[in-house]
């Protein structure tokens, strides 16, 4: 019995959450430091997982398995493949930055005010989300996954509804109303998805007799578990719907702009860069492995929806007047790319999609956190309230530009590699869809540059003229993210090496191989 590394990686932030919440109200800053410390320790554990993981070894590694609910065959089963390892690492890397960026987001509004903002709660909830996301990436038991997939909603609900931006154009009352609208919308959307998934999970149990991903997948490949075509399709749709809500895929996306707009920037990053990744990850792990035939059956429709997401999200981002909503729609466009890559059923597409999840997490974090710093200085989310910031705060503008350039997938920065892989992977099988998706890169340039031009360039507006540049804490948040973006853009090998073997497995699950080129010129 070796050390349960995966359990520890998930349990540490969970324990940390409880401990942070238990810090007495008077010692607010101790809670912050504790949360930061716990997230860093989790990062250390995640790095250990990364090091211990052998990309060329068996499919699931570091496995743990214990009986849990014997009567229903539910087991506490954990195991990671390359895709999960990459995403656990992403989560563990991002959380410390999120905590650091949100250092003052939950401070009391005024000293001595009766409006007490539960600082401890804020950081405890972030750690709780981390714990649940990590265990969702690790779970290889469908039921176990489902529980944490749903439980994640609870802390997220409180994070969105409880902590908004300090400044709001319509006053604190209106802000509270809009926040609770956003939080309820988030919750209901995801609960509906989860409910349908629950039905599918039960259906799967009825058909298969247990919840173990590995056992079911194995039984499906060696033919001992036969599913009727229609059963498989219904179950697939049940799972896919929940993941498509979480991802989010057009037309199930409207909760994301509201949620990201109303929550503070670090929480918005938590939503889009971390929590939503569970949706796309689960498509790769559960939809494709458990229901390969149904996945292939649904591919054309899903690809078209993903394509609509790409173009539609980008076009809507162009039309936004609110910085955070703009980033939200940009994310919808990017999730379209990820889903397109997954369902293109080529190794480039799927490796690209996994890489895209990682890179999108980092690039959105960079862009959104700098946007959050900007918003906290001026007290407005509206693009039109800014102008000429570049002159006043050049470092802030520079980092914002780099975040933006990463978002528009400039070659040399990490997202380019993944976006190009997804496009190539799609193009080799579906040329028309690949070509249309390429329009997305023009639209991405449009919304990023328009945002940059309106906020950062031009004459300095009087309201921003006294804006301070990035502070040390903020630089500590942004600089490592930028370094990561450049490093992974120039040398993505560390990630692709881990991901490629897992993708090869997934490709064999769905009985697909890459299309052969017309001329074998590469020797």
């Amino acid at each position: 019995m070796s050390f349960p590394l995966l359990t520890a990686t998930a349990a540490l932030p969970a324990i940390g959450a409880v401990a942070t919440a238990a810090v007495p109200a008077a010692r607010r800053s101790a809670a912050k430091w504790l949360a930061l410390l716990v997230s860093l320790a989790t990062l250390a554990l995640a790095i250990t997982v990364l090091v211990r993981f052998d990309p060329d070894g068996t499919r699931y590694q570091l496995t743990e398995s214990h009986a849990w609910i014997k009567d229903f065959g539910v087991r506490y089963e954990l195991g990671v493949d390359g895709i999960a390892v990459a995403l656990i690492a992403l989560t563990a890397v991002l959380i410390p930055f999120i905590i650091l960026a949100g250092w003052h987001d939950a401070d009391p509004l005024e000293t001595g005010s009766r409006r007490w903002r539960p600082t401890q709660g804020f950081f405890a909830l972030i750690l709780a989300v981390e714990a649940m996301v990590v265990i969702s990436f690790e779970a290889t038991d469908v039921f176990l996954f489902y529980i944490f997939f749903e439980a994640m909603l609870i802390p997220m609900y409180f994070l969105i509804g409880g902590f908004g931006d300090r400044a709001h154009e319509h006053g604190e009352e209106a802000a509270a109303t809009q926040r609770s609208y956003a939080a309820v919308k988030f919750l209901l959307y995801n609960l509906v998805g989860g409910l349908i998934m629950l039905a599918a999970v039960i259906g799967l149990y009825v058909v298969a007799g247990n919840f173990s991903l590995q056992e079911i997948a194995q039984a499906r490949t060696n033919g001992s578990l036969h599913m009727a075509t229609s059963t498989e399709r219904w179950l697939f749709l049940g799972f896919f719907f929940a993941f498509a809500v979480k991802a989010p895929l057009w037309p199930l996306h409207t909760w994301l702009p509201n949620a990201m707009q109303e929550s503070t920037a670090p929480v918005a990053v938590l939503i889009t860069a971390v929590v939503d990744k569970v949706g796309t990850f689960a498509m790769l792990r559960f939809c494709l492995q458990l229901f390969p035939e149904a996945s292939k059956w649904a591919t054309p429709v899903i690809l078209v929806l993903a394509l609509i997401s790409i173009v539609y999200g980008a076009l809507l981002a162009v039309g936004q007047r609110d910085i955070k909503r703009l980033v939200a729609y940009a994310s919808i466009s990017h999730f379209g790319f990820i889903i397109m890559g997954i369902f293109a059923m080529t190794s480039q597409g799927q490796s690209g999609a996994t890489l895209y999840m990682v890179n999108h997490g980092i690039s959105t974090a960079a862009l959104m956190l700098v946007a959050g710093f900007l918003i906290s200085r001026r007290g407005s989310r509206l693009i039109g309230d800014y102008g000429g910031v570049q002159k006043v705060a050049p470092v802030l503008a520079g980092t914002f530009l780099i975040g933006g350039l990463a978002t528009l997938s400039l070659p040399g920065l990490a997202p380019f590699v993944s976006e190009f892989l997804v496009l190539v992977g799609t193009f080799t099988r579906y040329p028309a869809i690949g070509v249309i998706a390429t329009f997305g890169i023009v639209l991405a340039a449009l919304y990023v540059l328009v945002l940059y031009q309106r906020t950062m360039t031009g004459p300095v507006k009087p309201e921003v003229s006294a804006m301070p540049d990035l502070r040390a804490r903020e630089l500590v948040v942004v600089a490592p993210l930028i370094v990561l973006l450049i490093f992974l853009g120039v040398y993505p090998k560390p990630v692709t090496d881990i991901v490629n073997p897992a993708v090869k497995q997934t490709m064999s699950d769905v009985h697909k191989s890459d299309p052969k080129p017309e001329v074998e010129a590469a020797k």
């Binding site: 959307y189 490796s351 070659p411 190539v424 040398y491 074998e520």
Partner: protein, 648 residues
């Protein structure tokens, strides 16, 4: 020796990193650091050049593999550099002209408080451009391709507190992105066709696939080239790009970056050779652009925009030549190099004039400057003679060869293309003579004109800081600016002859690009004669219009064509109406749709459930007997249903 290729790129990249991250401490030395690293790169280039010259013509290719960049399945992208005669030519041009312009900028940007950052961007540009020409595969080329686009964006918008500069920068990037789309689709097509996108495998297997595929690849590459090289229909950004500082216009928007499209087409020669339809499209684009740019150049009163029109037109020549296939590749590159000299020289001259004229750009407010700026006058004049193709100067050799090659294409196409090229030569002579006459000859129209022209606000806001709004005192620029101009003028004079005597340039490039003589219906002498006639006609008309008569300070209304040409032949108006307005309407209506329809369905569902529960609530009226009725009713229904099921 191949290990020197990476340092060639790394030197300016290091400069960019140091200058952009270094902070204010480097403000005092930053410009010299940038210039020094650029010159270092040039020296590396010279060493490599000497090394290549020492080898046989067939073995002049060096490759350096650094690391595997992306590797997924059969998708293999390496960071590998390839130095052959073609890229060597570009390396020398980029680092040579680049170093000169760095030097010039030391003087030109002296009063700008953000000079360090300017040099950082310039170094970034050099690194990206070198990456572009040294890449061994199309994906790595793409990195350089967008890298120069980024540098161009940053430099056009360098004075970004001016909304016009910020808008021009954004426009340049966006139009280029449309072209980039072409490049990425081309790479994807190569991958599906050849399973690779490295130069070697793709270009040596073009015979194994269908012509249709190659035509598609060729057209997509052409789209990319159109974006980067400002060819019709993606040319609209180049005029606006003149919002950037003048050294930027000289380096990026005249000598190097805008010629990347020509490089791409020549580099992919094997694809185009096997796809005649794509080649035809290339020649058509080139011919149309060379006339388009020339016509626009005739009508502009802004000296930089007139030169920008000229750049567009000259690149049109290069693209035309590149489209002719092996007949034209060498001459496209030769014209590219000579154009790099004389156009950079012309732009630097224009910058020098503006420097002495309080950053005035309107040529109608120049005049008679030859007395005040002798060095600028002579260097600009030599550049002028070179670009119109005055016999013996570099433009003469390179342009004449292109016109010959166009005729050598043969058939009706040959006559049409050759005719267009000849016409272009005449117009070139006209507009360049116009620029020359309006700037350096005639009466001194800047006297008693202390206020700047309202319709052309200053492109160089540095003047505003200096408070120079009084009557200009034209003066010669400092040595640090004139020396680069002199060097470029020397190149403009002797470059063509040096390349052409003994067909040196042809023999140098032939192993890479191939060459064939074609089948010209006209003798070389006849073409040269015709070109000379065109040249004389163009100069004569310009003299009649701008030399004999005084030039009015306020532009006359002009004919319909002149007015259209002043507005870039209405292309921007078309873009504005169709793309900008249309796009705005589209996004606005989509925002509306998303809010009312997509979100409306969601909120409607929620509201529906809310309403339903409101109705159902009424059933709970608190009267025990009404509950009893519903219970009896329910029981009765159950009994009835049971009986019914039994009966069935």
């Amino acid at each position: 020796m191949e290990n020197l290729i990476a340092p060639l790129i790394a030197a300016p990249l290091l400069g960019a990193a140091v200058l952009l991250l270094g902070g204010r401490r480097l403000d005092r030395v930053g410009h010299w650091v940038g210039t020094l690293l650029s010159a270092t790169s040039f020296v590396f280039g010279l060493i490599l050049f000497a090394d290549l010259l020492g080898k046989d013509a067939e073995h002049r290719t060096l490759t350096q593999h650094l690391w595997t960049w992306i590797s997924v399945g059969s998708f293999q992208a390496d960071v590998t550099f390839r130095l052959d005669q073609l890229s060597m030519t570009f390396v020398l041009l980029i680092t040579g002209v680049g170093s000169l312009i760095h030097l010039y900028s030391v003087g030109y940007m002296e009063h700008d408080e953000r000079r360090r950052r300017f040099f950082g961007y310039l170094n970034l540009f050099l690194a990206a451009m070198l990456l572009l020409v040294l890449a061994d595969n199309y994906l790595l080329l793409y990195v350089g391709w967008e890298g120069v686009g980024l540098a161009s964006y940053l430099l056009i918008g360098f004075w970004q507190h001016k909304p016009s500069a910020a808008t021009a920068a954004k426009k340049a990037f966006l139009v280029n992105r449309v072209g980039d789309m072409g490049l990425s689709i081309a790479i994807m097509l190569m991958f599906t066709t050849f399973g690779s996108f490295a130069f070697g495998p793709v270009l040596s297997h073009t015979g194994d696939t269908s012509e249709g595929k190659l035509t598609a690849i060729g057209l997509m590459l052409l789209l990319a080239a159109c974006g980067k090289s400002a060819q019709v229909p993606l040319q609209s950004w180049l005029g606006d790009a003149m919002e950037g500082p003048t050294p930027v216009s000289a380096l990026i928007h005249a000598a190097t970056m805008v010629t990347a499209g020509v490089y791409l087409i020549v580099r992919s020669g094997a694809v185009f050779n096997a796809a005649p339809d794509a080649q035809l499209a290339v020649t058509v684009v080139g011919a149309v652009t060379l006339l388009f740019g020339a016509i626009v150049g005739c009508a502009k009163d802004d000296i930089k925009k007139a030169l920008a029109g000229s750049t567009m037109s000259q690149i049109g020549y290069m693209v035309l030549a590149a489209g002719l296939g092996p007949i034209g590749y060498v001459f496209a590159i030769m014209h590219l190099v000579t154009h790099g000299f004389f156009k950079a020289g012309l732009f630097l001259g224009a910058g020098s004039v503006m420097h002495g004229m309080n950053d005035e750009v309107d040529m109608r407010r120049y005049g008679g400057l030859r007395k005040y700026m002798p060095v600028t006058f002579i260097t600009f004049g030599l550049g002028y003679l070179a670009i119109i193709g005055f016999p013996g100067l570099s433009g003469f050799f390179s342009k004449d060869k292109i016109i010959e090659a166009a005729f050598a294409k043969g058939g009706t196409e040959g006559w049409i293309l050759g005719g267009a090229a000849l016409l272009g030569a005449a117009i070139t002579a006209f507009y360049m003579t116009r620029v020359m006459l309006m700037t350096f000859f005639g009466e001194e129209r800047w006297r008693n004109q202390p206020t700047r022209s309202p319709q052309a606000p200053s492109a160089e806001p540095a003047a505003e800081h200096r408070g120079e709004h009084a009557e200009p005192h034209p003066h010669e620029s400092p040595k640090v600016m004139t020396i680069p101009m002199i060097v470029l003028a020397v190149g403009s004079v002797f470059g063509g002859a040096f390349f052409s005597i003994g067909d040196r340039f042809l023999h140098w490039l032939e192993p890479v690009t191939g060459h064939s003589e074609g089948d010209s219906p006209l003798s070389a002498a006849a073409v040269t004669g015709a070109t000379m006639v065109c040249l004389v006609i163009g100069v004569a008309i310009a003299w009649a219009q701008y030399g004999r008569k005084p030039v009015p300070v306020v532009a006359p209304r002009g004919s319909l064509l002149t007015r259209a040409a002043r507005r870039d032949l209405l292309q921007d108006d078309f873009n504005h109406v169709v793309l900008v307005r249309g796009g705005e309407h589209l996004t606005r209506s989509l925002v509306y749709v998303d809010h009312t329809l997509v979100d409306g369905v969601v909120n409607g569902t929620a509201a529906g459930f809310g309403g339903l529960s409101g109705r159902l609530r009424r059933l709970q009226n608190g009267f025990a007997r009404s509950y009893a009725v519903s219970m009896f009713g329910g029981a009765a229904l159950l009994v009835a249903a049971t009986l019914l099921m039994r009966a069935v």
